[in-house]
């Protein structure tokens, strides 16, 4: 039986991908950011997950204005790195896990989530930067990946409650997959950042940390945070944090934090990173 063994949250700032690709991770600016991922890189080497359900958002790369899916699940064999305007990132193609992906997609639809199934798409920094943070620069990614793309660009984005519930349904779906697989779920994006207008550059260390607190332990308070609160407190792009709720929802009633990291700034953004495991209460 497949099981979700852990949840990982991480920002997915494009500049971190640049730092990896250009060998700058030990520069003064980047070293303290990457240092916070050392623990996790080592831990992932030990954990050897078979599959990562990678919750991220497409930043106007695979989807343009013609089509905007709220929740899209990648059921394809493989995904190439998108060209976001400066050529594709020089990273390996991302290998999918169609068997598990289709199983989850089917279960979710039966569970009344109105999924969009994707068989072919390119994946942007939202998906590839977290892989680089967790695995460095391998010849081939050491895990298979099920991309789960969430609309956090055009409003309304899904409610926090719906995201959490989707996570719960994903956990049920994984648990009913017959093959023995070690599955992780990652929630990416965030933390506080605003990339537009005179208010750009907003960061909120206190709120970000309170949000991380809420993902640890037994509370499910975070599912009720409204979109406007993310925007007011953490900037327009802080809304990406709703994707962490999908990860959290998939971990069950109670979690334990294995690792936690917070750093300000990276480019326009606050970096947050959290490793959680489900805990039976």
């Amino acid at each position: 039986m497949a099981r979700i063994t852990a949840g990982v949250a991480s920002s997915h700032v494009p500049l971190l991908g640049v730092a990896v690709d250009q060998g700058k991770t030990q520069d003064d600016y980047f070293a303290p950011i990457f240092a916070g991922y050392d623990w996790t890189r080592k831990w992932e080497e030990e954990q050897k997950p078979n599959v990562v359900i990678l919750v991220y958002n497409d930043h106007a790369s695979a989807f343009d204005m013609k089509i905007i899916p709220t929740f899209a699940i990648g059921c394809g064999e493989t995904y190439a790195s998108a060209d976001e305007g400066f050529g594709p990132r020089p990273v390996p193609d991302v290998e999918g896990h169609p068997d598990l992906a289709w199983h989850i997609a089917q279960s979710l639809i039966l569970d009344e989530f109105d999924m969009t199934i994707i068989n072919e798409m390119d994946v942007d920094h939202g998906l590839t930067v977290p892989l680089s943070m967790m695995f460095g620069q391998p010849e081939k990614w050491p895990v298979k990946v099920i991309p789960l793309a969430v609309n956090v660009v055009t409003y309304p984005v899904p409610t926090g409650n719906r995201c959490w519930a989707l996570g719960e349904a994903i956990a049920d779906a994984v648990a009913s997959f017959p093959e023995d697989l070690n599955v992780q779920i990652w929630g990416t994006g965030g933390m506080s950042h605003q990339l537009q207008g005179p208010r750009a550059g907003l960061l909120n260390r206190e709120w970000d940390n309170r949000f991380m607190d809420l993902l640890i332990g037994e509370t499910d308070e975070a599912r009720e945070i409204e979109h406007i609160e993310y925007i007011r407190e953490t900037g327009t792009e802080g809304i990406e944090m709703i994707m962490w709720l999908i990860m959290r929802g998939a971990l069950g009633k109670k979690t334990r934090a294995l690792h936690r990291h917070y750093h300000i700034p990276c480019s326009n953004t606050a970096i947050g990173h959290l490793v959680l495991e489900p805990e039976s209460s």
């Binding site: 976001e84 400066f86 050529g87 260390r205 709120w207 949000f211």
Partner: protein, 139 residues
């Protein structure tokens, strides 16, 4: 964080977003207004389009259903003007990348700071939300 009832009415929901200082939330209204700007920006994901755009920006822009105002805002790289016209920053990022600009530099250009001061502000902990959460509430 969660002592409020969820806003279910779409009008009330959307109205809140107009109450954040210096901020344009990418609502349907903005998405509709900026449709062709965003589709133009998206086209720069193809290397051949970037080449054509760089070779003659105005000619390339003329291929799209854009107002003169929108074309001028693109040519001037006036990102705030583009956002006012319904552009979204993730679409516009393809223009920023085409220019070879860092994201931070482009973003800084929308604020009151020059790039150096912006970087200094970020290094010092970023812009505080204090007083910037709500126009009406002034908190």
């Amino acid at each position: 964080m969660s002592d409020k009832k969820r806003v279910r009415d779409i009008h009330a929901y959307l109205e809140q977003f107009e109450d954040v200082p210096g901020t344009r939330v990418y609502t349907a209204a903005r998405a509709r207004k900026g449709y062709h700007i965003n589709q133009f920006a998206m086209s720069l994901m193809k290397a051949e389009n970037r080449e054509r755009f760089k070779a003659d920006e105005r000619a390339y822009l003329d291929e799209w259903q854009l107002s003169d105002e929108a074309k001028d805002a693109v040519l001037a790289r006036d990102y705030n003007a583009l956002l006012d016209l319904g552009a979204n920053i993730y679409f516009v990022s393809k223009l920023i990348s085409t220019d070879g600009l860092s994201f931070a530099e482009a973003v800084a250009s929308m604020t009151e700071h020059n790039f150096e001061d912006y970087k200094a502000m970020m290094a010092a902990g970023g812009r505080s939300p204090e007083g910037l959460r709500s126009i009406k509430g002034k908190y």
